[in-house]
Amino acid sequence: MSYLLTATCAVPAAGAVVTAALPAGNSEARRRTTKAVALAVSAATLALTAVVAARFEPGGPRYQLTESHSWIRSFGISFSLGVDGIGAVLVLLTAVLVPLVMLASWHDSDPAPAPEGSFEAKRRTQGFFALILAVEAMVLVSFLATDVFVFYVFFEAMLIPMYFLIGGFGDRAGGPDAGKQRSYAAVKFLLYNLLGGLVMLAAVIGLYVVAADQDLATFDLPTLTNAIADGKLAIDPTAEKALFLGFFFAFAVKAPLWPLHTWLPNAMGESTAGTAVLITAVVDKVGTFAMLRYCLGLFPDASKTFAPAILVLSLIGIVYGALVAIGQKDIKRLVAYASISHFGFIIMGIFALTSQGQTGATLYMVNHGISTAAWMLVAGFLISRRGSRLIADYGGVQKVAPVLAGTFLIGGLATLSLPGMAPFVSEFLVLVGTFSRYPAIGIAATFGIVLAALYALLLYQRTMTGPVKPRMEGMPDLKVRELAVVAPLVALTLLLGVYPKPLTDMVNPAVDATLSQVHQTDPAPAHPVAATTGGEHE
């Protein structure tokens, strides 16, 4: 039994502890060591995940590199990990983003003017980076867990470090009541997700009780899903529906799905750009990921029953998020609402129950992570320069800081999923996948792409073009560090747009497995023509 996955999760966890324990102090040197250590740890994690991805064989069994360590026998709980294609790509995403986020928020944790000897002055930096690493560790576990209980535990525990990140560290743009706003956002984030989590807890217990009644007292996901698939474990329909809703509610809050989304704009608006990226690009993905793995795997029939309703909600989310984004005055909130619209697409892809939809959704998770990270982080650089989040305060940036403007535009274009960029691939797959089962919804969702163009380009036009606004002159262009953050993201966006095959090869088998759990096959075309790859029809 290899310990590779455990190691992958343990490294950032240990790193968090170490970072937190680093000698306190406000000296620039002390802070630099802290940051260096944290960055090194995240880099090591990235290396490990790279190994995982390399060791992963797309053709192989569903879960690979599996390991299982008995944890709480009384409830048939074991700390078991395993990676499937979907998990693999998301693990990679996480590991790639975290170092970049750290690099991007290099100075966000430098102490604001604070009384000597206070926490701000002493341990702020350690805290910030330790929390990021803690979040990374927990997210990794929840992507890798193959035990429902283990997943639940980390799905929940993740909230705490996230909560302190949001509440403890904001960007420099906050007004006089920034602190109040921040803690409001943090509490809102925590309560929403905690409520979701507690409802899920009831469902988790319910699932266990139901399973235990049919002497299958375990939380082991493969065991459960297989038992359900071949009817060894029969959950009566009403119970299944209830349990499904219990799980789905938690994930829908996390994802977030309309109308449970209202915590996201506050959280992303008030926290630092880096934290915002962690929220929307990494943590929220656990929600959509879990829908795919747990809702569909454990409750196939209920999933099918509720799919149409969920599709409608996600459709509303797509349009609603985009429209509200158009109406925003605050850059970061705009990005947040854009993300809500995108999550609509992801969820739609998942519950269209077609292989295009689900592969699309999975890629969407990755691509949205990358592109939004690029967009948000550049926005963060911008905000850190001018000290304001208000769109109205900006204008003509492209004149003074062309590179910043350029990268911001690229981020925007990626967000409106321009063909040739990664998001296009996933978005189109989702649309096709949805369309092929629910044409009306598919078409309606397509209108999202127009709205996306609207909010993305409006934001660019208002901030970057036109005459240079006062207090804009002499705004410095991107520094090397900032370029080092954006460049990889842009590169990935283009690369995955032009050549997504490596990812699709990883994801497809997992998606097929998921669909077979739900007993669904893609609708066949009306007048099929010979499959057309590799130029066969020459």
């Binding site: 008995s70 944890w71 709480i72 026998r73 009384s74 409830f75 604070a114 206070s118 926490f119 701000e120 002493k122 341990r123 639940y152 535990v153 980390f154 929940e156 525990a157 909230l159 705490i160 302190f164 509440g167 403890g168 602190g179 921040r182 803690s183 943090a186 509490v187 925590l190 309560l191 905690l194 409520l195 507690l198 409802v199 807890l201 009831a202 217990i205 319910g206 266990y208 009780v209 235990a212």
Partner: protein, 545 residues
Amino acid sequence: MSPTLWLAAAGGNSASIPAPHIEYGQLSPMLIVFAAAVAGILTEAFVPRRARYGVQIGISLLGLGGAFAAVVVLAAQGHATTQAGLLAMGSVAIDGPALFLQGVILLTAVMAVLTYAERRLEPRLNGHGVDSFAAQGGAVPGGDQEREATRAGFTTTEVFPLTLFAVGGMLLFPAANDLLTMFVALEVLSLPLYLLCGLARRRRLLSQEAALKYFLLGAFASAFFLFGTALLYGYAGSVQLGDIADVVSGVAPVTPALTVTTQNDALLLIGLAMLSVGLLFKVGAVPFHAWTPDVYQGAPTPVTGFMAAATKTAAFGAFLRLFYVAFPGLKWDWRPVMWGVAILTMVAGAILAVTQQDVKRLLAYSSIAHAGFILTGVIATNRQGLGAVLFYLLAYSFVTLGAFAVVTLVRDSKGEATHLSSWAGLGRRSPLLAAVFALFLLAFAGIPLTSGFTGKFAVFQAAAAGGATPLVIVGVLSSAVAAFFYIRVIVLMFFSDPQPQGPSVAVPSPLTATAIGVGVLVTLGLGLLPQYFLDLASKASLFVR
């Protein structure tokens, strides 16, 4: 009265009253504690004032430690499982739950004693370090006598023997196998607590008021308990839980008297209800909770911690034994009622806590909510439920003690600063303490990887398995509400700006530090690696009859 009457009452066979046979070895935990208590009293009588403090601590720790050792030995001898049985003519049971809870109570007591003995928090009085108890309990607050005592640096070392007596009662309570023993145990654990509540060094008026309220209501409740006992005795002709169970299930040999009394279910049901009142009062379940916030607030904080942890444990122990041993046959009568009580307790506890402004009252209401959660496990009435409740009590005790120990450290000129507003920004000034308290709060809130979560999961799981799914749902929802006010405190500590003349955090002696440290360890340990203790609890989860 005259002999003839006697004989008549005794049914004419007075000669054959058997000489009681007592298993001293298996009763040793209680005996040791009581012995230590008596020794403590003697210390008060004969040891010079200066030396008492040390001696009392020594005696207490020795007594409690010894008792704990005895418990361990008994458990090792298998008295928890195979050798479980009835002692002292069937009036005391020694079995898994009894020993487990006795162990928990003793450990809690040890930590409590540590916090009692803390003398670094109060400013030294002309060279004498003093603890958080009144210089002289009897002296009028602000009166000359008190000033005198204070100047002399007196301290009320009687608290140690009092606590030992209370502990003794608590040890007996969950082991009591007949209603009379239970009643006596109830009183033995309550009376010293009444006194302890009134012995705070600061805010003595509040302290005395707390004592008064606790005492009057306690006495009121035990009156109900006693009347319930009377009625049940009337119904079953015996106060032994086992016999009562037999009579209820109709397997007992029928005597002419029984034929009369057992026709009258009212006796049985009313008696049951009144017994529950006495116990529900102790565990602080709605609507018998009213005393909790006031008493918790007024009592000296170390005492509050001790009460909150140990009393609840003991009371739930008795509660479980009563319902699992004497009234399994009555499930269908008492379970619906308890459902109501549990729901009411969870919801009211959570909701009432939302608007509290005083840390100790907040914790009081949270303890009410937790009583509700534990009740869901009790209602499960299956072996899982029993095990879950045992585990929950273990987890809860240490979190509670730890939390109250932290409260003792946050002080300003007027002593402990318990008003929430003064806790603002604590996390900025002393992050470590705030982090520890946050951990305890998160455990209360049942966040995963803390003991609170494991316990909550266990009881809810048992309840669901026992068919009480609605209770579970109410449980999680009220947990959400509860989370709200725990988080409120965390926000206050970490995200709001410190007050200019806010409280300072006193540096405790190793005593309190140990108590808190152990609390932290147990909280994390039971969250991360609970397996051993879950096993222990489930092994212990069988009552002897």
